[in-house]
Amino acid sequence: MAVRVHLDRMLLERRMSLTELSDRVGVTLANLSILKTGKARAIRFSTLDALCRELDCQPGDLLAHEPGPVEGDGEP
């Protein structure tokens, strides 16, 4: 995926664990792990809103685009 999620860096900077963030934003630990490891296919605005609120950051701090090959899922 060309979009990188810098959740681990944000957590490290705030000395916050994934479990604590999970409790605060109301997203399961499993789903946050999917997001953190870059396996997520999409993120809801509501999730992004909650993450930015709890991490006190902007969406651009969490997400970054890195040019790379388009994923071969049959869709443009």
Partner: protein
């Protein structure tokens, strides 16, 4: 009444399919046993046959010479057995599909494979229906007599088979969307 989940129409149909599956197995075992028994006993039957005029004379009375019919009967039973095995395979897959419907989670990749399998087996069974009667008539004319071969094609059945293949693709799309939803945080 709900269509999916425990206590729904799906769960009732699942129970019905379980019963049908059980009955089909019993019938298939009985037919298999009859086929094997017939084939084992076949070598002993000609000893009581005169081999003339298709009749056996016992105590002055004429009986049909059944030994001449054994190959035809065995072939017929094998065809029936093949048909039953196909039906068991179909009902077995349908049971698994209805299990997922009862669980409320039908859009799984396994169901795509199951539906395609059902479509292929149904196609095979329908082709068997076209091939077996003329073949039996050619191979065993004295056993089958005049076979009324119907050259017409049952369009409804073929339409149903096509619908199954389309449904398989619908399930494939459903499974893909489900996967997408799972990875949407």
């Amino acid at each position: 009444m709900r269509a999916l989940g425990p206590g729904s129409v799906s769960s009732l149909l699942k129970v019905a399919l379980d019963v049908v599956y059980f009955i089909l197995w019993i019938v298939a075992l009985a037919v298999g046993l009859a086929t094997v028994t017939g084939l084992v006993l076949a070598p002993f039957l000609p000893s009581i046959s005169t081999g003339d005029n298709n009749v056996v004379v016992v105590n002055g009375r004429e009986y049909a010479d059944l030994s001449r019919l054994i190959p035809a009967a065995a072939a017929g039973l094998l065809a029936v057995l093949g048909y039953l095995v196909g039906l068991i395979a179909i009902v077995g897959r349908l049971r698994k599909i209805f299990e997922t419907l009862t669980a409320g989670d039908p859009f799984r990749p396994e169901n795509v494979v199951r539906l395609r399998f059902i479509g292929v087996v149904l196609t095979g069974l329908m082709l068997l229906g076209y091939v077996v009667p003329p073949l039996m008539a050619v191979l065993f004319p004295e056993a089958t007599g005049e076979v009324d071969i119907d050259p017409s094609v049952n369009l409804t059945s073929w339409f149903a088979v096509l619908v199954i293949f389309v449904l398989a693709e619908v399930f494939r799309e459903g499974a893909r969307l489900r996967h997408e939803a799972e990875l949407t945080i």
